[in-house]
């Protein structure tokens, strides 16, 4: 067993885990944060996307034990005081989902796109940057609309302010 400590949605957590534990297993099985989904389990579908130190990653392809000291945000960490995050609200408003399985990953990726590229996103950029998220229901059309609207609603505010990216050492 190995011990790992990290911050998840702003809360300090410590786990005693088998080193094999993937981040998505740690989140779902140990912390009971089941909003992060396992879709393909082969780093393709994006249902498991969460933010690590402010950057979107596929939680099925990261060892939890390797995230000592990291700051993780999951879909559960977006809403504040029961108020949906603007990106969540936009997905609801624009019906950017059908079955909803891919939605947590879609929304975490969408927030990451805004963090990287700002609030004024054109359709081409959105479609390209959603490359790592697969939806088998919607045909993507409403998802793209939702991301554009959510980006605008986020209005220049990074919603990941509580997890400043760690600087790469030069």
């Amino acid at each position: 067993m190995a011990t790992v400590s990290m911050s998840v949605n702003g809360k300090a957590v410590t786990g005693s885990i088998d080193p094999r534990t993937l981040l998505v297993q740690f989140l779902r099985d140990d912390l009971r944060l089941t909003g992060t989904h396992v879709g393909c389990d082969t780093s393709q579908c994006g249902a498991c996307v969460v933010h690590v130190d402010g950057k979107a990653v596929k939680a099925c392809t990261v060892l939890a034990v390797s995230l000592e000291g990291a700051s993780v945000t999951t879909i559960e960490g977006l809403a504040v005081n029961g108020m949906l995050h603007p990106m969540q609200e936009a997905f609801r408003e624009h019906h950017g989902l059908q079955c909803g399985f891919c939605t947590p990953g879609m929304i975490m990726s969408a927030v990451d796109i805004v963090n990287r590229r700002g609030n004024d996103l054109d359709e081409k950029v959105i479609r390209e940057d959603l490359d790592g998220n697969i939806c088998r229901c919607t045909g993507y059309h409403n998802i793209v609309k939702a991301v554009a609207a959510g980006a605008e609603a986020m209005g220049g505010q990074s919603m990941d302010q509580k997890e400043p990216p760690r600087q790469a050492a030069e």
Binding site: V49, V57, V62, V65, S66, I113, D131, G132, A168
Partner: protein
Amino acid sequence: MYAFTYHRPGSARQAAGLLAKKEDAKILAGGHTLLPTMKQRLASPTALIDLGACGDLKGIVRKGRTVVIGAMSTHAEVAESAIVQEAIPGLAYLASHIGDPHVRHRGTIGGSVANNDPAADYPAACLALGATIVTNQRKIEADAFFTGLYETALEEGEIITRVVFPVVSKAGYAKFRNPASRYALVGVFVAKRGSDIRVAVTGAGEGGVFRWPEAEAALKARFAPKSLDGLKASAEGINADMHADADYRAHLIGVMTKQAVAQATGK
């Protein structure tokens, strides 16, 4: 995934020490090939040595006529680096088209180069730009580094610490990607450094990345897409699979080379 012990050294030197001590250990860089491979039980190392905390393997700097990229630099860091964008824009472009945004946040240049996947992007850049792969023990020229499918000149216990790219006058990359895996069906990196022209092809060769001498000769006369008119790559030794047969891939080599030259010359 089979069980393993996990180690997190703080420097490349410590990592090398662990690698020498632990039997059947593997280096973990970004993990975006190794972890899926372990999940499928195609690899079962008894120890993983994670380079994630080795600060000395990070960072991108300009040194004279070269750009030095730490082995643990992620694809996103290379793509977004102002130094790389300014000195070798074709390399930044290549990095920005590896996998998807999430993969680029984790995958590293050192991991990609060490793995030498026959459809990976970086080997083409290393070979075309005449990069030097620096390890904890020595320096290896790209020409001597990529030795076959998933095979490199790396010896047991050797760890890539950085990759040194010469700043060339022109460079460009074009890839026809597999839409599902986002690996190259065919990717071509072209580079012009003085009168030295290099064309490196990934995704197509049965033995991994290779240079295309005929195209290099044709581009020597004039470094322009038109110089490649009528030039066809041979389908001999070219991969054939469910995604593309050898003739189609050979055809794509010509098309991608032209596009890469067009990108390099801004046309």
